[in-house]
């Protein structure tokens, strides 16, 4: 019964793992011309400024996107955990970006951020601000990419956190009510500590996803421009090396590096969880 799965996993997943690691020690050019490189690809990475910049960008995206997404999701989940009218309508609306294709989302926002005709510039100039080419300049482009990613990620995490909050036994809240605790106090002393296992899950998955950010950057930033070099993530740079520059060996080395980085960060978070996650 597991044979069909393992044939598939073997061909498309297990074998590729070894293949990528193996290939990262070769120069693989177009038409699969290869020559042994030893650690050459890894040495090249050290002196490749674009590589360093993409690495820096990826960490920057993670630092901006992960906390904001999780905090916003937690706040919204808390608000939706009240008996208010239209709760279900809110829940459904917030979830829509989660089922929407990221490609379409990026195209939609790209049009909003458009420097010449975008609605954002019209709004900005209406309030007396200076219109800008949002997606052409490094800092504003990174901000835009982050906003879109947060916009896309909040709903999903909110649903998961809401399920976590609803799993907290109501007796805790009843006891707090007897003591006359305020809502804000209950949030910080009951909800947050007891939802930490879910919070931890959400944090880890959002972190792993953000470290692999690709779609939004690929679709929002004009190809073959300086802006793309300045805003690209590691995965975008990997993609361009593999399929645009035809440097498959180098791309393999980047993939290995990314894997190691994700492993280290995840292991670090797993270690750290003992300090703040409450399992009962």
């Amino acid at each position: 019964m597991i044979l069909p799965l393992f044939i598939g996993l073997g061909v498309f997943y297990f074998y590729p793992v070894f293949k990528v690691i193996y290939d990262s020690f070769f120069h693989v050019g177009s038409f699969n011309k290869r020559s042994f490189a030893g650690l050459g690809n890894y040495q090249d990475m050290l002196s490749d400024l674009k590589m360093w910049e993409s690495l820096g960008n990826t960490f920057l995206y993670a630092i901006i996107i992960v906390p904001l997404t999780v905090i916003l999701a937690l706040i919204l989940a808390e608000f939706l955990n009240t008996r208010i009218k239209g709760r279900n309508v809110f829940r459904v609306i917030y979830f829509i970006p989660t089922v929407t294709m990221s490609v379409a989302v990026a195209m939609m926002w790209r049009w909003i951020f458009n420097g010449d005709f975008g609605i954002l510039n019209h709004i900005v100039s209406f309030f007396g601000g200076e219109p800008q080419y949002w997606l052409s300049e490094k800092n504003s482009a990174i901000a835009c990419i982050s906003i879109v990613s947060i916009w896309m990620g909040v709903g999903l995490n909110m649903i998961i956190l809401l399920a976590g909050i609803q799993g907290i036994p109501s007796t805790y809240y009843e006891a707090a009510d007897l003591d006359g605790a305020s809502r804000i106090r209950k949030f910080f002393t009951i909800t947050v500590p007891l939802v930490t296992p879910t919070l931890f899950f959400v944090l880890i998955t959002t972190m792993i996803a953000t470290l692999q950010i690709f779609d939004v950057i690929y679709m929002m930033i004009q190809a073959k421009t300086a802006a793309l070099n300045e805003t690209q993530s590691v995965v975008v740079y990997f993609f361009r090396n593999a399929f645009e520059y035809s440097k498959k060996g180098y791309a393999s080395a980047i993939a290995v590096l990314l894997f190691v980085i994700i492993m280290i960060i995840t292991a670090f978070q797993l270690r750290l969880q003992k300090k703040w996650v409450n399992y009962d």
Binding site: M1, I2, P4, L5, G8, L9, F12, Y13, F14, Y15, P16, V17, K19, V20, L76, F79, L80, T82, I84, F90, R91, I93, I96, V99, T100, M101, S102, V103, A104, M107, M108, R110, W111, I112, N114, D116, F117, I119, H122, W151, I159, L162, G164, G167, R183, T198, F201, L211, Q212, F214, D215, Y218, M219, V235, F239, A242, A255, L258, M263, T266
Partner: protein
């Protein structure tokens, strides 16, 4: 005095509630406004879309962007490709993952733990890690620019196997023992008794897989370069590359591409939300 206290409390509660409402509604506006703008742009002429000052509502609602879409890219074919490959991916994952998930949860066989850990290890590796060798394998099999290329590597999922295993684990042992006493083999126990009981798991996995398959960009983008064999994500990327300034057309294509999943979500929202929430609880 007591009465006064309670009215104050109520007022406070009312004000707090109002703030919550305002924030929630603001959140909805931020969520929906981009979609509205996409919708409105798609019904404008190309000239009106770039007019200064901009119009909010189209001066005249035109469907040119929609009718000319098929002349720019083989849009309907791409739509069909997306549907076909998504359906096959979902069906394949449900089959392979429930089979393997059942075996891992319910059958004792030598090497089970080792194989399960091997399976889980795939979960820890970023998808882009596999993509280069997968690309070369598909090329070797002479399958690039076919629909098979799109779904083939995605039929097998470590995550799906894990998910289904968790569902099978939760079923009581007595069920299976009773069936075995009645002389049912593993195949019958699986198909007749166990599978119907893990329907929520199948629905969750189906929804998650559909969402992944419909929206996946990188793999379809590289493996199929002929527009006839593209799915919607790659097709939209191509459209945006070719007709960079035809904003109504780009918005029309994007809007049509996202409608099916949003409609499906509207119908099955309970299952969607439960399916997603479940992954967090496990």
């Amino acid at each position: 005095m007591g009465k006064m206290n309670s009215t104050i409390k109520k007022e406070k509660l009312g004000a707090g509630r109002l703030v919550i409402y305002i924030i929630l509604i603001l959140g909805c506006v931020i969520t929906l406004a981009p979609f509205l703008w996409m919708f409105l742009t798609s019904f404008k002429t190309q000239v009106e879309a770039v007019s200064i000052p901009p119009t909010i509502l189209p001066r005249q609602w035109v469907v040119t962007a929609y009718t000319t879409l098929k002349d720019k890219i083989p849009f309907f074919l791409m739509y069909w490709n997306t549907i076909i490959t998504s359906v096959i991916t979902v069906a394949g994952q449900l089959l392979f993952c429930s089979l393997a998930g059942y075996a891992f949860a319910r059958i004792h066989f030598p090497g089970r733990n080792v194989l399960f850990i091997l399976c889980l290890s795939v979960l820890m590796i970023p998808p882009s890690f596999f993509i280069l060798p997968q690309y070369i394998i598909i090329q070797r099999l002479d399958l690039s620019n076919t629909l098979h290329a799109i779904y083939l590597p995605n039929l097998f999922s470590a995550f799906g196997t894990f998910l289904m295993r968790q569902f099978f684990m939760a079923l009581p042992k007595e069920l299976e023992e009773a069936a075995r006493i009645d002389g049912c083999g593993h195949g019958r126990v699986f198909g007749r008794i166990m599978l119907p009981l893990v329907k929520p798991g199948l629905v969750s996995l189906g929804i998650l897989t559909l969402r992944f398959s419909w929206n996946n960009l990188m793999w379809p983008l590289i493996i199929n370069t002929s527009t006839e064999k593209m799915t919607l994500t790659a097709g939209l990327s191509f459209l945006q590359g070719q007709y960079l300034s035809d904003y109504p057309a780009i918005m029309a294509g994007a809007l049509l591409a996202v409608i099916p999943l949003i409609v499906l979500f509207a119908i099955f929202q309970r299952q969607f939300i439960a399916g997603i929430a479940f992954t967090g609880i496990k």
